[in-house]
Amino acid sequence: MPTVSVGRDRLFEALGRTYTQEEFEELCFDFGVELDDVTTEKAVIRKEKHLEEEAGEDEEVIYKIEVPANRYDLLCLEGLAQALRIFMGLDEIPKYIVSNIPSESLLKMHVKPETSLIRPYVVCAVLRGVTFDEARYNSFIDLQDRLHQNICRRRTLVAIGTHDLDAIEGPFTYEALPPTDINFVPLKQVKSFRADELMEFYKTDLKLKKFLHIIEKSPVFPVIYDRNRTVLSLPPIINGAHSAISLQTKNVFIECTATDLTKAKIVLNIMVTMFSVYCERKFHVEPVEVVYSDGKSNVLPDLSVFNLEVPLSYITGSIGVSLDLNQVSSLLNKMQLQAERSVSVDGRSIVVSVPPTRSDVLHACDVMEDVAIAYGFNKIPKRKPVSLKPVALNQISDLIRLEIAMNGFTEVLTWILCSYKENFSMLNRKDDKSTAVIIGNPRSTDFEIVRTSLMSGILKTVGHNKDHPKPIKIFEVGDISVLDETKDVGAKNQRQLAALYCGANSGFELIHCLVDRIMEVVGTPFVPIGDDKGYYIRRSNVSFHFTLHFLCCCYLLRVWSCHTYNLAC
């Protein structure tokens, strides 16, 4: 996105008030530009030269503002201030007027057929009675630079030349000549150069050398002359020194040569609309007739508005808010688009007048967007889409299961129901009568009780896999039930995790490292015993020996805040 640097104080003056940086950022955000950086000219120089000086207090603050790449009308302070003033409702939309000049008094630009070999198009206009001061003059030059960088694609598509009209005399000719036939004093130089020598000369010029390739290899170079054979410019490289504009210039002649006519017209329109604000007759622009060798001619600029008919339903239906015609019209006015009720049959459409400054408006959807921006994106009520949400506990269980599997453990899935003996005495545990959910009508002793730990199931699995090669490393993540008076049914489930190692030795260190690993992936730090900011392991009083003679330890672990996992091995 292009960035425009403007003096803060000048901008605030143009906006008619001052803002705090936060207020200005809010305004930018709502309008769709962005305050990218706040700096000063001296700070920029200091940065370039890597100087460490302190900033002085009197330095002029510069706002660097990022603007959308298709809004060429925001590339200068004049356009930016105008757009923001209209957005805030301070100004009316300006009406640009092409002065009515009798055709015999029109300035003329004659195009020679050879130009089609290199750069076939030219469009021109005149600004009369301009009052420049230093700031306006700089802004005028900067706008040309920015247009050259952006829409003009580094002058390949369009190149702009601006001239002091009082130093030259029409009619003008746009020609393409062999470089050796062109001689003139270029801008910022005092001696005359032949065009081919000039090209050589500019090969060391940091700014201009980038543009030489556009015409360098061509047998003919484009050039513009006035009636006295004074060279106005050698597009797209450099203007002549003779017609250079200055602070004293009153009448400005603007020419845009191009390989793309549409873009040339857009560029010309931006130049004249932005700076006609400083004309004696505000927003008036004098046209120039471009006459081609085949006799065809064009009077430009074309500052007419482009009318677009947009159904109200399209706008409201796309944005998702209900607005009537008047509301839509006033919102569009804030975006510099004049809107009127259409005279078509149903009267439910608006006719939008797109001014010549708004070449970005191509389609009704662009109008719709401006309505949405003026309404405020952040005021549009959101529509909640239908969607699904799985249970968080299941998701986190899945994630942990995956981690354990990655640690070389194999998952098992065992029964919830087991015998009373298996759940207690065989694990050397006593029934405190306040833990287990017990079944009233078991068909067999295998289904007497809802497990209160995963131990019995995982041990039974080993018991039935005695012939499996050692070591055996298995785990299970699953629910147990415990009694809970606070629940309507008097019991609740708890998700537990158990892992087991069976081999030639106790394998304690393998289970220990699995515990560490799980704690690591859930982001729980290892802490000293008794500290509640992480996990620690302490000896448990629960010990159980049974037929398989396993030495078992049981750990109670504090895991993340919302769920307590029990891990047993």
């Binding site: 790449a69 529509r383 994630l399 981690e403 992936v521």
Partner: protein, 490 residues
């Protein structure tokens, strides 16, 4: 042996007051005793308390004087009562004795050192230095006064030695004979049945366990998995994105991105040498795209330039997965219309300078909804739903420009840590100039959004250099330590 001596002594006595003395009494090197004490203390058979002591010992020079006498006395005795010439005296004693003896004897005013003749000033002397050194050697330091100690230290005849020993009492696990403890339970113990009587070494829970061995997944892909889940939960269907090579047509032209657009410059996009161009495009559709670029239609003015087929044919590495979206929407338009929700997360390529936050390739996350009568309200709603599942529920939207969406909204989220709004993605409603040439019905709208996978991942894990997350320079231990990704899990 040392162990038996200690445990045996403590069986009959209350205490070993000083392990140093104990060692010399039983004639065992003290270092050996100390090792045994540490082991017994570890198993709590004895309780040991440190004793730190300091002791004056004789230096080698000091030791030699206890035998031969101090040099000043040696020198005095070498001088006969009638006196002696310097030369004679020098011949009679050792040079070092002469040198040190002279200065001390003069200081003590024992001898008169004339230019030629040396004579006695006193008749008799006592060798105090030798006496003091002998006393210190015998451990009778208390009988030597501080001034003498300092003087001897100054003459480097004695030095201070620090000495660590222990005082020992019975510990809680005291037994006259130590039982061997097992460090682990083994199959042999179980087979022999001796585990019942075994004493096991206590586990050390203050240390971490052995490092776990096992595989690990890549952090970025863990985040991708969660995002996939989020999309699936929101009812989105995954688009096939396994085609890095794309034509400019599908990547740009089909999206109504004009051919002079800066993104289509070689310094933004990787174009291909081989295969350099696309062979086949749907011709009738290409014709409609050309028309809409050049002169508009479908209610549009168009861009008003000469659209070139060669530009569209140029191959590239896709700069966004929206290239796939344009293919999918085109296919959708070839059938009777049915609403769709699509997503993809895959690699895209930008010909950009690599720095802390940019790589030439990254993963783009893209979601789109295609249905009749969609509004900006739907887009805002779906974005709130999506991002709140990523833990970003405070959103706001800024108008922006994008060639293929209108309206276009940049998505900002308030970052509680940074205390500011950060841009997290882009969104918009696809332009009619893109959708209508495909053949989609006029009332069908498409809302879409995109973001990179890397950026939220970096914010999530506090990584500030993208190369620490993605690519061959990533630290493997970072991958191993990476926690599970809980995006989308409350």
């Amino acid at each position: 042996m040392a162990e038996d001596a200690i445990l045996g002594f403590l069986e009959k006595n209350e205490k070993i007051a000083d392990s140093g003395k104990f060692a010399s009494n039983i004639g065992i090197d003290h270092n050996e005793i100390v090792n045994v004490i540490k082991s017994l203390h570890g198993f709590r058979l004895v309780d040991a308390e440190d004793i730190k002591r300091e002791k004056w010992v004789l230096t080698d020079e000091g030791k030699s004087y206890t035998v031969a006498g101090s040099p000043e006395v040696q020198l005095f005795l070498a001088v006969p009562p009638e006196g002696i010439s310097r030369e004679e005296l020098q011949k009679k004693v050792d040079p070092s004795v002469y040198k040190i003896g002279c200065s001390q004897a003069i200081k003590n005013k024992w001898l008169e050192m004339g230019k030629a003749q040396v004579s006695r000033k006193v008749q008799q002397v006592e060798d105090q230095v030798k006496d003091l050194l002998l006393r210190i050697q015998d451990g009778e330091v208390h009988a030597v006064d501080q001034g003498d100690i300092d003087a001897l230290k100054k003459r480097k005849l004695i030095a201070l030695q620090t000495w660590k020993s222990y005082s020992l009492t019975k510990g809680p696990n005291y037994a006259p004979k130590r039982k061997k403890v097992a460090t682990d339970l083994t199959r042999e113990h179980l087979q022999r049945g001796d585990w019942k009587d075994l004493e096991f070494k206590e586990y050390n829970f203050s240390a971490k366990g052995q490092p776990a061995e096992g595989g690990h997944l890549h952090p970025l892909l863990k985040v991708r998995k969660q995002l996939q889940m989020i999309f699936l939960q929101m009812g989105f269907e995954e688009m096939p994105t396994n085609n890095f090579v794309e034509s400019s047509f599908w990547n740009f032209d089909a999206l109504f991105q004009p051919q002079q657009h800066p993104a289509r410059d070689s310094h933004d996009t990787f174009f291909l040498q081989v295969p350099s161009t696309t062979k086949k495009l749907p011709e009738d559709y290409v014709e409609r795209v050309k028309r809409v670029h050049e002169s508009g239609g479908y209610g549009s003015r168009g861009y008003g330039y000469d659209w070139k087929r060669e530009e569209a044919n140029k191959n590239l590495l896709r700069t966004h997965t929206t290239a796939v979206s344009s293919r999918m929407l085109y296919l959708l338009a070839q059938k009777p219309f049915a609403p769709k929700k699509y997503f993809s997360i895959d690699r895209v390529f930008r010909n950009e300078a690599v720095d802390r936050t940019h790589l030439a390739e990254f993963h783009q996350i893209e979601g789109l909804v295609c249905d009749r009568g969609l509004t900006l309200g739907d887009l805002i709603g779906v974005l709130h739903d999506f991002f709140s599942r990523l833990g970003m529920s405070k959103l706001r939207f800024k108008p922006a420009y994008n060639p293929y969406t209108e309206p276009s909204m940049e998505i900002f989220s308030y970052h509680e840590g940074f205390k500011k709004w950060v841009e997290i993605g882009n969104s918009g409603m696809f332009r009619p100039e893109m959708l209508l040439p495909m053949g989609l019905p006029e009332d069908v709208r498409v809302i879409a959004w995109g973001l990179s996978l890397e950026r939220p991942t970096m914010i999530l894990y506090g990584i500030d250099n993208i190369r620490d997350l993605f690519g061959h320079k990533v630290d493997l231990s970072l991958i191993k330590r990476n926690p599970i990704c809980r995006l989308g899990v409350d």
